[in-house]
């Protein structure tokens, strides 16, 4: 891996944020809007149950963590789409840049987005709802790391599909992650799922993160088993999707479709 090539690609993407309002909105406006809507829902539900602190803690915490996963996936996939829209893939892959360096750069961009969005959401949640995301304590970090990894897995998987199937698959960049939402058990416990869907959710690392978060907030018990499961699954899936990305890259080069992605 050559770090200067990864840095070049990251700088190329950061240049885009200098003068693009829609890209800045993606980091500030949409997460803020999400938070406002879910915040009001939370307040409304709390008036019914009379348990406002618990509901706020569960729902707003889940929302912020879900956005970590969502933005982490978007960071990867949108960075790839930016190259397609700019018809820049040929310039990049005719340079010494390797597919691994390309992926590494998209992962750095993903971290940039996650950090920016998490800061915006945490500050807004605190200002508007008095919600302190750090109520979860030090366990917040391993939760976030695991959700970032899950986002990368979905992002690399989606990117491979777009590379393989071209522009027609672009819509997956925004929709794929929502396929995982019902089985990520973001806003409800895994036990409410029917047994067959629970089996599917149990192999989804994100579901274990959200289970762990709820368990921690309810009982204050260390979520070691949830985090171990999530980390193990994440590492296996991440290795598999990276291999699959390389395989797809090689197939596209063989079919001559790499330079035609987006046409």
């Amino acid at each position: 891996m050559a770090y200067h090539r990864i840095a070049a690609l990251v700088i190329r993407h950061l240049y885009l944020y200098r003068r693009s309002l829609p890209r800045v909105m993606e980091i500030i406006y949409w997460p803020f809007l999400d938070l406002v809507v879910w915040g009001f829902i939370t307040v409304y539900l709390a008036t019914f149950q009379g348990q406002m602190p618990a509901v706020v803690t569960f729902l707003l915490g889940a929302l912020i963590l879900w956005d970590v996963l969502f933005r982490s996936q978007q960071g990867i996939t949108i960075s790839f789409l930016e190259e397609i829209w700019a018809r820049n893939l040929m310039n990049l892959f005719a340079s010494p840049l390797t597919p691994s360096e390309f992926l590494a750069a998209t992962m750095v961009m993903s971290l940039f987005k996650v950090t920016a969005v998490s800061m915006v959401m945490s500050v807004c949640a605190w200002i508007f709802y008095g919600y302190n995301v750090f109520i979860i304590g030090l366990w917040l970090m391993p939760f976030i790391v695991n959700l970032v990894l899950t986002g990368w897995i979905i992002g690399v998987f989606t990117t491979s599909l777009i590379m393989r199937f071209g522009q027609e698959a672009e819509v997956l960049a925004w929709s794929m992650v929502f396929l995982f939402q019902p089985i990520s058990c973001v806003f409800y416990p895994m036990e409410v799922l029917p047994s067959w869907l629970r089996a599917v959710a149990s192999i989804n690392p994100a579901a274990h993160v959200f289970e762990g978060m709820r368990g921690l907030l309810a009982t204050h018990a260390a979520p070691l088993s949830s985090l171990s499961l999530a980390s193990g699954l994440n590492l296996v899936y991440l290795g598999a999707v990276i291999l699959w990305f390389h395989h797809t890259f090689s197939v596209c080069k063989d079919r001559g479709s790499l330079v035609r992605v987006g046409e």
């Binding site: 050559a2 200067h4 090539r5 840095a7 070049a8 690609l9 700088i11 190329r12 240049y15 885009l16 003068r19 693009s20 930016e82 700019a86 018809r87 820049n88 040929m90 310039n91 990049l92 892959f93 005719a94 340079s95 010494p96 840049l97 390797t98 090689s250 080069k253 063989d254 079919r255 001559g256 790499l258 330079v259």
Partner: protein, 242 residues
């Protein structure tokens, strides 16, 4: 001929039952400009893309600087660049930002100085801070050429580099390329549909038809061999035989 920096042997590319490039072999010497001619669909673009590592050959080999492209991709592509009228650079970046990203990608030292040189050489000073999306097609062509020369390549692939330029700028570009070749020993693989330009620029020409080399030599040799008045007549004759 000077020692070969590019050696292509029995290069073949099949897409299913269709053979786009059919067992072609050629060399490019140091400081040589090799013209690649052929009608649309002759296999020129596929050959370019294989030589840039963007398409995997079905069989045959591509060696540059004595190294095999399949196994030494990074080392080879560090010393190679390309420019095409049909490829742009990211529209949302300024000219200067695009050049700076390319310089970083290739790990250039003295990045600012080299960018200044290119901007001056290709007369891009007035629009170096302009967004790429606001460039005319001629300015875009100059930018992609600047991007290709910026990295001080030893081998350059040029796909119709003067197609959208006015005659004055096209003449200047050809002069710059010849000057770079003279100064650095740059080897160039060149395509154009401007036959006069091909005659002027190329030391040797390869004529591709249906993926095969059907003629090879200097422009003068080829014209004489086919008993035509000029290279354009040869092109028309071969293209219409398809």
């Amino acid at each position: 001929m000077s020692p070969s920096v590019v050696e292509v042997r029995n290069l073949t590319k099949r897409f299913g039952a269709f053979t786009a490039v059919d067992g072609i072999s050629f060399d490019i010497g140091r400081g040589e400009i090799l013209g690649l001619l052929g009608p649309n669909g002759a296999g020129k673009t596929t050959t370019f893309q294989m030589m840039l590592g963007l398409v995997t050959p079905s069989s045959g080999s591509i060696r540059m600087f004595g190294l095999d492209l399949q196994t030494n991709r990074e080392a080879i592509l560090q010393q190679v660049n390309f420019s095409s009228t049909y490829i742009s650079l990211p529209y949302s970046l300024t000219v200067e930002e695009n050049l700076s990203v390319v310089a970083r990608l290739y790990g250039m030292s003295n990045m600012a100085g080299r960018i200044d040189d290119m901007v001056k050489k290709l007369e891009m000073g007035e629009w170096r801070t302009k967004l790429t999306r606001k460039l005319s097609s001629g300015q875009m062509t100059r930018l992609t050429l600047a991007k290709a020369l910026l990295t001080e390549p030893k081998v350059l692939f040029l796909d119709e580099p003067t197609a959208s330029l006015d005659p004055d700028i096209a003449h200047k570009i050809r002069a710059i390329l010849l000057e770079e070749r003279q100064a650095t020993g740059l080897s160039i693989l060149y395509t154009s549909h401007n036959m006069r330009e091909m005659e002027e620029m190329s030391d040797r020409i390869i004529f591709l038809q249906r993926g095969k080399i059907v003629a090879e030599g200097t422009a003068k040799d080829i014209v004489a061999r086919f008993g035509q008045a000029d290279l354009e007549e040869v092109f028309l004759k071969l293209a219409r035989e398809q």
